[in-house]
């Protein structure tokens, strides 16, 4: 069932959010979504704080779109629960959608309509509509205001889709791969507007992507999923503080027993050796880890601690050996 009967026969009234729900925009608990016997989302649990720009990462087929579809009521969960501003996505889908603006992965709009006709259509199926906001974003993106949608480029359609999603004054904006297929300039414009305009209004933005550089540029929270399971969910700044690369250079080739010992140290996520150089990816108290290593009876020429970027982190967490961490 997409919606409970009690809420499905008519449009709901958009209610102001209860105080409690003003701190958590999305709360997913042990969510399971299946396609036949395959678990596309497998016990997913995380929260999205209100006001965050939340990057939802994962490789293709990891369950990002399925999670988003479940949040919006396009699919029903097979287990667990998900709430958006306190509303259950399975039984209160209309209330959820009353507070959410959504831009889909395909950015599909009605090509046979003109922009004003499309605006009128969206207004007719929204509880609240602010045409001035839509016009403002259309102007900001420099879209031809009276053009037929079919004549717009892919980048323009993405910008129009975002403008329309903002027309209903949503508290939460869910974007599924919003910049997929856009050229770097269009991507930059899109993301720039997202941060400088939309997030500045205090709206929560939840967006999936596999373009790590764009997520790193705009997000303040990230979650990484793999094969439907949560691998990581943290504030990006905290993540960068606690996840580092430690580069060790030994004066002599370290023995295999020492390498094994290093790999087993608490906080070491992965290790790579190249001759006398060893590269550790570590999380947690990295200073304590380097002190432990320096106290070992093998002469070190140098110890260097380097920040990880999101791409390094992502690749690290995607490694098969770390499955289930």
């Amino acid at each position: 069932m997409s919606e409970k009967k009690s809420t499905s026969t008519a449009a709901v009234k958009k209610e102001s959010l209860p105080a409690f729900e003003q701190t958590t925009a999305i709360e997913i608990h042990d969510l399971v979504v299946k396609y036949g016997s395959k678990r596309a989302v497998d016990g997913l649990t995380f929260k999205v704080p209100t006001g965050a720009i939340f990057g939802f990462l994962g490789p293709n087929g990891s369950g990002k779109t399925t999670t988003i579809k479940t949040l919006l009521g396009f699919r029903q969960p097979d287990g667990g629960s998900a709430r958006v501003f306190g509303y259950d996505v399975a039984s209160q889908s209309l209330q959820v959608r009353a507070h959410v603006g959504f831009v889909s992965e395909t950015n599909s709009l009605y090509d046979f309509l003109t922009i004003p006709q499309l605006c009128a259509f969206c207004r007719s199926i929204s509880l609240e509509w602010n045409q001035r906001v839509v016009d403002r974003y259309i102007g900001l993106f420099g879209l031809p205001a009276r053009e037929k949608v079919g004549n717009l480029s892919k980048g323009m359609k993405s910008q129009l889709a975002l403008s329309l999603a903002l027309g209903s004054n949503p508290d939460l904006l869910i974007l599924d791969e919003p910049t997929a297929g856009l050229d770097p300039l269009a991507r930059h414009e899109f993301l720039n507007t997202l941060v400088s305009e939309v997030a500045a209004e205090g709206k929560t933005i939840f967006f999936s992507s596999h373009i790590l550089s764009e997520v790193e540029a705009v997000s303040d929270w990230v979650a990484i999923i793999r094969k439907g399971k949560l691998v990581l969910c943290d504030e990006l700044d905290h993540l960068k503080q606690t996840q580092k690369v430690v580069k060790l250079t030994y004066t002599e080739l370290p023995p295999a027993t020492e390498i094994e010992m290093l790999n087993s140290l608490p906080g070491v996520m992965s290790l790579a050796q190249e001759g006398r150089s060893v590269r550790l990816v570590a999380h947690g108290d990295v200073d304590a880890l380097t002190q432990t290593i320096q106290a070992r009876p093998y002469a070190l020429r140098g110890v260097e601690t380097v920040d990880l970027n999101l791409e390094d982190l992502f690749l690290e967490y995607m490694k098969e050996k770390n499955d289930g961490r």
């Binding site: 069932m1 997409s2 919606e3 809420t7 499905s8 026969t9 008519a10 449009a11 709901v12 958009k14 579809k69 919006l72 009521g73 396009f74 699919r75 029903q76 209309l94 209330q95 959608r97 009353a98 959410v100 959504f102 889909s104 395909t106 599909s108 709009l109 009605y110 046979f112 309509l113 006709q117 009128a120 259509f121 969206c122 007719s124 199926i125 929204s126 509880l127 889709a161 209903s168």
Partner: protein, 250 residues
């Protein structure tokens, strides 16, 4: 939403509407010209039961017009229009990816589906009414004025019958993700429901037989049974489509 549906369906409606108008006008205007030719043909190489049918239908202007429009061309062209409209209602949105724009908004799936269905039903009704008006006008000009009551009742029956095709196409449109399969399924099932009409003593099982009541057109009886059957049969696929659409995952 209604405007968007109308804009989306406009070319289908215009093309089928024009075709329907041409056919109905030709049917109503050519009786006097074609009657001698049809009478000669009927006496030549036709099977006996067909000869009887042709003779009956050409025996009077009213029967000729009813047989040509309400029993044949009107049923067929409106069935095609209903199938074309219904097949694209949901499957068209899914195949183009616009279903997410639609379902991402805070309106219920029932309202979405019923609005789409209602707009298509109105288009069918408009085409059927325009055709019937054209029939009345052309018949009057040709010197064979028709009973308005019979035309209205026959148009109503025809519309109810076509709502079955629309509902059927909508049902398959919910089930399939492309437009072609719902269209074909709806048309094939519609053709199958017409087959009993060609089998002696089976005509009561022909659904299309109820869409075109000769007695009602000629003002001989009020087609209560046909109306009830057409109404029930029109509603059934719609209810099924609603139930399925409510549960469908996208």
């Amino acid at each position: 939403m209604v405007v968007k549906e109308l804009i989306e369906a406009r070319w289908k409606a215009i093309i089928c509407g024009l075709l329907a108008l041409i056919l109905v006008v030709v049917s109503a205007a050519t009786y006097d010209l074609l009657k001698p030719a049809l009478s000669n043909t009927s006496s030549q190489q036709m099977p006996q039961f067909l000869q009887q049918q042709v003779q009956q239908l050409t025996s009077s202007y009213n029967l000729y017009v009813w047989g040509n429009w309400f029993s044949k061309n009107g049923t067929e062209i409106l069935a095609v229009l209903a199938a074309v409209l219904g097949a694209g209602l949901i499957a068209g949105e899914v195949s183009k990816g616009t279903i997410f724009l639609l379902l991402g908004k805070p309106i219920s799936r029932e309202r979405t589906l019923l609005t789409k269905y209602a707009v298509s039903a109105l288009i069918l009704l408009a085409v059927a009414m325009l055709s019937s008006m054209a029939l009345l006008v052309t018949a009057a000009i040709a010197g064979h004025p028709q009973q308005i009551g019979g035309v209205v009742i026959s148009t109503l029956l025809l519309c109810l019958g076509e709502l079955f095709v629309l509902g059927l196409a909508l049902l398959f449109s919910v089930l399939f993700k492309d437009v072609l399969r719902p269209l074909l399924c709806a048309l094939i099932i519609t053709i199958l429901t017409a087959i009993p009409g060609f089998i002696p003593n089976w005509s009561a099982w022909s659904l299309t037989g109820y869409w075109s009541s000769q007695a009602a057109y000629l003002g001989q009886e009020f087609p209560t049974k046909a109306l009830i059957i057409c109404l029930v049969v029109a509603v059934l696929p719609l209810i099924l489509a609603l139930t399925l659409f409510r549960r469908q995952a996208y």
